[in-house]
Symmetry: C2
Subunit: 215 residues, 2 copies
DNA sequence: AAGCAGCATTTTATCGATAGAATAGGTCCC
DNA sequence: GGGACCTATTCTATCGATAAAATGCTGCTT
């Protein structure tokens, strides 16, 4: 009999809540009632509360002393701050990744880019492939701490993308941008790769910003 | 009647545990039994468990599915990784702080350095003043996210300092290092300030590394 | 002396219950 | 009509109890 990832109610609830928060199924700022969540996921107060505590420490949830938890708000201001932090952080992570990347890293990056290229946005698998591509780009940075931080920021950014759900990015060839980034990274043109990556983020941010404001 | 920071048992336990972990009163890797902690702090299982969940998300505690929590281990390897991450992260945070710092920032930095200078290491207030100095240095970086990340890393590093408790830093004038950093920062010599800060960290790391290994 | 089966003791994870705080209505007075 | 006030209901925070799992012993066997 196969065990289906049965590692404690707390972790299960944590995972599901996190997923629901990240892909926008739970609206920012909405109240997270312990009982309701418990009922939905078939758990009592304790596991739910623990899961919420973790998520609060991760910044996806706010704990308001004496009045429970709510989904972290999503404002244009916070989004701007997020994008800025991401650009500055990934600047050094990418630099170090390029400086340490070996042949295996190169190959993994090429594969990730290839997988991403053959998918179409809107395709269910695209999100995952996109995340994998950006992860592969930074994967060779020797500091797992910094890689994890970059990953955290990427997740938060994806939450905004899910919330904005822009029908498309008009007048933009995202595939080409990814291609250029990968090529430049493989050629180890450090400053240029950093610049392209930042522009990539800024450009996405511009679209999301308007999409968010227009909600 | 004055209310003494009475915001929920969970938060109280969280604060106390965090403090005990950071200053080494709780040894790395030691088991954190819910009941024992609850008894010590006068709380039941739920608040303790929530506090531990938060701390686990912050990385100060490990949750091992099915067998409770333990204090995060402290190894020389992780310490090296920590120092490296800190150098790379603060490189950009300091750069941006220098580029955005205004007159108020300068004055706050001067004050922080002054306060630090008049204290002696070993003085109870030194730790706090030292933390304040480094915080002041980075305070003008516009990204609160990155500042918070730097703060997190600083806390972890202080845990190692507390664990190693080197009697002194022989043949080293820490005060002079701080002075040089402040002066260079105020003069906006960006690359030089970054270099000095990194050297400052590396040098401390060297002492701690030997102190840790010799435990 | 190493290994191990089985029993006793701890500990974890989780539930259900409950006191007290917060919220949402509804009412009455100016 | 707009508050101020009171009340019913809803939630939160926290406790105590408990089943299941893990750990630690003990003594038997080879």
């Amino acid at each position: 009999m196969q065990e289906i990832s049965d590692d404690g109610l707390t972790l299960q609830v944590h995972r599901r809540l996190r997923a629901d928060l990240l892909n926008g199924r739970i609206a920012p700022g909405s109240k997270l009632k312990v009982q309701a969540i418990g009922a939905a996921y078939g758990a009592g107060a304790s596991p739910v509360r623990e899961a919420l505590s973790s998520l609060a420490a991760e910044g996806l949830v706010q704990r308001i002393e004496g009045r429970g938890f709510r989904a972290a708000p999503a404002t244009v201001g916070e989004f701007d701050e997020l994008v800025r932090a991401r650009c500055w952080l990934e600047e050094v992570v990418l630099r170090e990744s390029l400086s340490a990347g070996d042949a295996a890293w190169e190959e993994a990056l090429v594969v990730a880019q290839w997988r991403l290229r053959r998918l179409d946005r809107g395709d269910a698998a695209w999100e995952a492939a996109h995340a994998a591509f950006h992860r592969a780009l930074l994967a060779a940075c020797p500091s797992s701490t910094l890689r994890d931080m970059a990953e955290t920021l990427r997740e938060r950014a994806e939450r905004y993308r899910a919330l904005a759900r822009p029908a498309a990015y008009p007048g933009r060839d995202v595939g080409a941008e990814h291609h250029a980034i990968a090529e430049t990274a493989l050629a180890r043109h450090v400053p240029r790769a950093i610049m392209l990556l930042k522009e990539h983020y800024e450009r996405t941010a511009d679209f999301l910003r308007t999409a968010l404001a227009a909600r």
